[in-house]
Subunit: 360 residues, 2 copies
């Protein structure tokens, strides 16, 4: 099917208008725990036009911003060895994988009114010269915000990490940390669907309750209330752990390695307990030797294209059938974004942290 | 071919004689760096007879004791989570994979005069009720001591770790630590044969010189002389590292992870820099995420049987053709064993550390 001509697609009622554009910028590189003072919400303007002659640019209105712990790693300056995504730059707007609506488009694949998810700024309007990291939202029957979570990066991360990296199989013992978070809640439910025994840890009794009741985990514990992580894991896994989906690293990872079974696998997704430290905590990696444990990191960006589309259909089916549910923690307005991001590191969010900038 | 009757095999000139048997015993569980005072060489006696009625026992005279850093991990008491090999017991003799000669045998596969390599005590004579962990030495054209090194556990460890775990391939950039040691020297030479670019680190200029001249590494450095490990690795690997054969862990592992290329692999063989520490050093494991690095431990015991025999023939061919050479550090007499073992942790050995208890 031939796309409509670009010029036609770019015509909308708002074209040419100048509108205010509130943006979340990084004020300075962060050391230690980030605070709201490390960011600033500034008000600028944006003219709703596309660069003359562009055949790829789009201008979008951001609806839902995604708050993810990995963003902390982009707030530190990497000099010698680059991070896997570019560092944020002081004075510039943050970005992440958000949900937006196309206002203007010179791109043949997108037209005004389309809903997308992909990389945009933490701002009200984003001009994207070439939206290679944006995807159309195919399932409008779910809340749009799901594309910041269960149907977006966190969901795909859970799916690829569990099945491609950790290679979890029916009957195996699966443990995960940050289990009520955006990724964790999906990992646990997918592992249950796959026939695993699933235990998660989280940082409050409320979250532990969610894991056991809403998400159907076999067991769960509040790591802040356990005097001895080794004992907690022994209690939950008398026969040991086959798969650990690691979102936190540090002391939890250390205790899990001691409890792992031979040929255990660790999918390293995040190390959130470590992001604010100057020096990483020690982990007894000799455990890997005696039990032939495989630890493997991964990036969700490896699992795009057709892989994502298969995942999206499978996840949409699970959602329709009620086999996967999700919990979101939505704050209203872009002014709330810095506190929402900072809150992740205190575990203040319950479920996927989203900032609703606009509803449509 | 029918084995000879057990009774016939047991007849030797020494049978029934009582001889002195000097043994290296563990005096106490060790914390921190082991010292010679943690061990004691005691003199007992052994009667050269087999248990009446046994159809499997052998009595051997130990010729070459193997000194390996992993033995340190057996000097600590493991209460909750067992080590991959049993802890040594205070008051009891140490054991390891040594080279010995059969004196008496009730076992159909072994006869007096056979040379074996396998698990025996650190003592002059060992009675082995069932020698399931002993193997006949097939290549007498090489020094017997090679079966504590290049043709024994260290050689097999190098081979399996490099090819089965790290899956090193032609043209890849390979780094290894403790590169002049029993395992390292073989890893480096095998990687060169496989067509890799190979750099090793070691703890003295003498060892670095060995790596570059005798073992044919492409480059090498003395890690004790490098103010900045990151800079050293950047100098040696401007394009990054594909495979790291990790013998030491700690700060070196941390620096290597920063320098690794996407889809890099770490074969975790040992963590010798960590064995004497109360708490392990911190390693930035978030590096695994951004570059999809796989870290995998392994045990040489997984690669026995036919796998070992294929390895043994391949390695014997390399040795005959001069493609692999080895350097041993041999001390004389069982009384020298405790100091030889302790010396490993100060890097005193140059090459594979062996204790010659008897020459035949």
């Amino acid at each position: 099917m031939a796309p409509p001509p670009a010029a036609a697609a770019a015509v909308t009622q708002a074209e040419g208008e100048e509108v205010t554009n509130r943006q979340v910028i990084l004020k300075r590189y962060v050391s230690g725990c980030p605070t709201v003072d490390d960011m600033e919400v500034v008000t600028g303007t944006v003219r709703l036009v596309l660069p003359p002659g562009s055949t790829t640019a789009i201008l979008v209105k951001n609806l839902y911003l995604s708050c993810d712990p990995y963003m902390r790693t982009r707030m530190t300056r990497h000099t010698d060895d680059p991070n896997f995504v570019p560092d944020y730059v002081p004075g510039k707007v943050l970005d992440n994988c958000n949900v937006c609506k196309v206002v203007l488009s010179a791109h043949p694949d997108f037209k005004p009114g389309d809903f997308l998810w992909g990389v945009t700024g933490w701002e009200e309007y984003s001009l994207i010269p070439n939206p290679v990291l944006c995807n159309k939202i195919n399932h409008r029957e779910f809340p749009l915000s799901y594309y910041t979570g269960v149907l977006g990066v966190p969901g795909l991360t859970a799916y690829a990490g569990l099945f491609e990296v950790a290679k979890a199989k029916k009957g195996e013992y699966v443990f995960l940390s940050a289990a009520a978070g955006a990724v964790g809640q999906i990992v646990g439910q997918l592992a249950k669907i796959a026939g695993c025994y699933v235990v998660g840890s989280a940082g409050s009794d409320q979250k532990v309750n969610l894991l056991k009741t809403k998400f159907g985990f076999d067991d769960a514990f509040n790591y802040k209330e356990e005097a001895d992580l080794n004992a907690a894991l022994k209690r939950c896994f008398p026969l040991g752990i086959d798969v650990y989906f690691d979102n936190v690293g540090g002391a939890t990872l250390d205790a899990v390695l001691r409890r792992m079974r031979p040929r255990g696998r660790v999918a390293v997704c995040g190390q959130v307990s470590q992001y604010n430290l100057e020096r990483p905590d020690g982990v007894d990696l000799f455990q890997l030797v005696g039990k032939h444990i495989r630890m493997e990191g991964f990036l969700v960006s490896e699992y795009g294209g057709d892989y994502y589309r298969r995942f999206e259909e499978e996840m949409a089916r699970h959602l329709r059938e009620g086999k996967v549910v999700c919990v979101e923690d939505v704050v209203e307005g872009i002014d709330a974004a810095p506190a929402a991001l900072v809150g992740l590191f205190a575990g203040r969010n319950v479920g996927k942290q989203v900032v609703a900038v606009a509803r449509e």
